[in-house]
């Protein structure tokens, strides 16, 4: 049964969800989109970030977003270490395709199983003052539980975009994704640049994980729901385009939201997969890809 009111609400909810999905996909947009490293362990780092926020929130009552931000240096270092191992074992020897993928899959697996051993499979949630409240704008309800992650997601996207466009290291990262040899000739060490980029990508996962646990309770296997979404958004948006990631994320969010409201939510998971396959078949470079 259709009504404009319902449609408007579905679209708005979808846009908010899209902002959150953008936060989730930024890391992969950087690591896979720009550096061309198929880090399929990214969803596991996302969940790891969610659990880190949970621990801080339940032990010290720390607001989840603050906890997420506080953990970014830790995750940055973690990302740097992971990249170094990856580089040393695979990239240097030119074997990234098979072994690198398996390596990341192993990491994904180890993180997920370790989390379930440590925390069990009970659903974990966070508390914060603004979760559970909502505001009403002319018939359209907006809940803070979605609004805050959306705003943070947009802020993250903007910050990353500016970083890549305006700062030295940011531009170096863009350069490394285009032409490594030229970069070396210009005096910058591509390996160091890639380490920084990978670290940033994983740090983004930490903050996105904190947003995730604000929206819904998590268990260790929640990461599998995001694999499809992350890569669908990156491919649809275009490899290497941060702005494209945001646009694709909003598109995915709105389509999922409309499907859920009008056709029943049973198939919304297939939406991301369908979008991924369609993008790969029709326009693999995505909407804004290079």
């Amino acid at each position: 049964m259709f009504s404009w009111d319902l449609l408007a609400n579905a679209v708005v909810a979808g846009v908010l969800l899209g902002g959150f999905y953008a936060a989730v996909s930024l890391g992969i947009g950087l690591i896979f989109g720009l550096l061309d490293i198929a880090n399929i362990a990214q969803p596991a780092f996302l969940i790891l970030g969610a659990y880190a926020a949970y621990v801080m929130n339940s032990a010290y009552g720390l607001d989840p977003i603050l906890a997420g931000i506080a953990f970014t240096p830790v995750f940055y270092l973690l990302g740097a270490v992971v990249y170094r191992v990856y580089y040393g074992s695979f990239e240097r020897r030119g074997q990234e395709s098979l072994r690198g993928l398996v390596f990341f899959f192993g990491i994904l697996f180890i993180i997920e199983v370790s989390l379930s051993r440590k925390f069990g499979v009970d659903y974990r949630l966070v508390q914060a003052g603004y979760i559970g409240k909502s505001i009403d704008l002319g018939g359209i309800g907006i809940s803070f539980r979605y609004l805050v992650p959306c705003l943070v997601g947009v802020a993250m996207t903007l910050a990353l975009y500016l970083f890549l466009a305006r700062t030295f290291y940011g531009r170096a990262i863009m350069a490394v994704s285009q032409d490594q040899a030229a970069l070396r000739l210009m005096g910058a060490d591509p390996i160091r640049i890639k380490t920084i980029a990978f670290g940033i990508g994983i740090a983004a996962a930490s903050l996105a994980g904190a947003l995730l646990i604000m929206i819904a309770p998590v268990i260790p296997s929640t990461d599998r729901d995001y694999i499809g979404r992350m890569f669908a958004i990156t491919v649809l948006g275009g490899m290497g385009s941060i702005g494209g990631t945001l646009v694709a994320a909003v598109i995915l969010g709105v389509v999922e939201s409309i499907m859920a409201t009008f056709f029943g939510p049973s198939w919304s998971l297939a939406v991301s997969f369908g979008i991924l396959l369609a993008a790969l078949a029709v326009r693999p470079s995505g909407l804004f890809g290079r």
Partner: protein, 421 residues
């Protein structure tokens, strides 16, 4: 070179250790009676599997303190089924053919009982089922008995109290919205709900399902609110129960009666984190710390022992859902063994089928297909919860039993909105 050699040595050593551990025979005490089972100690159902195991262990200790069964000590032999049905045939074959257990019980949950049925039937064993829905409907095996008090009609058992309460209200509510997760228990509950809606003459205005991985419940709840239902019946698993309830509060969904078959709301971690968001919800349950249940002989001692051990075991600290029933399950088996004075599977089964048992959850009698002869799914309402402390849930008053009458401990606050104040 040395590095690869070290690797090989480590790999071989690991395998040798594992093989040795498997083959070394376990030292045996004075001819014990062995009770074997698989249990969900890891995986999706471990949140209930681990407390169930703890309850069985407490029973074993209680029985052994009084001299054991038939004068012999009881020994538990169990393995983790990882909530994966495909491990069950292997586990029970090992229990029966290698460990040579005398008695078996099932693991926790419909999916883990199902693969056990053919094995039990083939070997003509008595099978005590721990919380499975309609496992015996296809097989109609006479030696199967199930401890979840769903009763002879498992599909309507969850919802019947809910819709009966709704129908009793004055003026009678008219419209119903039903929604549920794409998973086994919720789907069964929805089938039952549809039947009951017809029986009580309600009108369905919304009937949809959603995948368990849904992140955003707001569109669903909004769509439900748009149909303006008097009654909202939800059949969900723990994460969606939480998500739906939160979304309902945010969207301002206030039917006259809300709840139904929401699994997980009764888990202690969920109760403490949801706090007052639970107020007014009318939900199914099997046990509540209300006077009619606390008065049953033996349950207070059991809970005291359970709660003392639960903290260390890292399981649900209150144990107000599955543990009393797990204990009751092995109580029935133990009493049957004593009464038939032996371990003959057929005699035990015949005894269980023919008699009524006194357990810590009350009187238990089995009927058709091994289910309870008379169903006892409760309808409770969460009332007057404030804040998030666990202590308010220890005793009566916050989860009032509304149905059935013989266990009623309070009155419904109707409509739903009245309980939110």
């Amino acid at each position: 070179m040395t590095r690869t050699r070290v690797l090989i040595a480590v790999a071989v050593a690991t395998l040798v250790v594992i093989a040795a551990a498997a083959l070394v025979p376990v030292a045996r005490a004075a001819d014990p009676i062995k009770l074997g089972f698989g249990m969900a100690l890891t995986g999706g159902l471990s949140a209930n599997g681990k407390p169930a195991l703890l309850a069985v262990e407490i029973w074993k200790d209680d029985v052994n303190k009084k001299g054991g069964l038939l004068g012999r000590p009881v020994q538990l032999v169990y393995y983790d089924d990882q909530t994966n049905p495909s491990t069950v045939p292997g586990i029970y074959t090992k229990l029966l053919d290698v460990d040579k257990v005398d008695l078996i019980i099932s693991g926790y949950g419909t999916n883990l009982i199902a693969p056990l049925m053919p094995i039990a039937m083939e070997r003509k064993l008595t099978l005590m089922g721990m919380f499975g829905l309609a496992n015996n409907e296809k097989y109609q095996y006479p030696n199967y008995f199930q401890i979840q008090p769903a009763g002879p009609d498992p599909q309507t058992s969850t919802a019947i109290g809910f819709f009966e309460l709704a129908a009793k209200q004055n003026p009678k509510p008219q419209t119903v919205a039903i929604v549920g997760a794409d998973a086994e228990y919720p789907q069964n509950a929805l089938v039952g709900a549809r039947e009951l809606i017809k029986r009580y003459g309600f009108k369905t205005v919304y009937d949809k399902t959603y995948p368990p991985s849904t992140v955003d419940y707001t569109p669903i709840v909004r769509a439900i609110k748009a149909t303006n239902p008097d009654i909202v019946f939800v059949a969900s698993y723990p994460p969606d129960s939480v998500g739906m309830l939160r979304a309902a509060h945010e969207v301002g969904l206030q039917p006259k009666i809300f709840g139904g078959g929401m699994v997980g709301l009764m888990f202690t971690t969920v109760m403490t984190s949801m706090g007052s968001l639970l107020n007014g919800v009318v939900n199914y349950d099997f046990w509540a710390p209300e006077p009619p249940f606390l008065a049953i002989a033996g349950v207070k001692d059991f809970l005291k022992e359970y709660q003392a051990r639960a903290e260390k075991a890292g399981v649900d600290p209150l144990g107000y859902y599955l543990p009393p029933y797990s204990y009751a399950l092995v109580q029935v088996l133990g009493q049957a063994v004593e009464a038939t004075k032996g371990l003959d599977q057929q005699k035990i089964a015949d005894y269980i089928r023919a008699n009524e048992f006194n357990t810590i959850v009350g009187k238990v009698k089995f009927g058709k297909n091994g289910e309870w002869a008379k169903g006892r799914t409760l309808m409770v309402q969460y009332q007057k919860i404030s804040g998030n402390s666990i202590d308010q849930f220890r005793g009566p008053g916050k989860k009032v039993v509304l149905y059935p009458d013989e266990f009623k401990s309070g009155n419904i606050i109707y409509p739903y909105a009245a309980a939110l104040k």
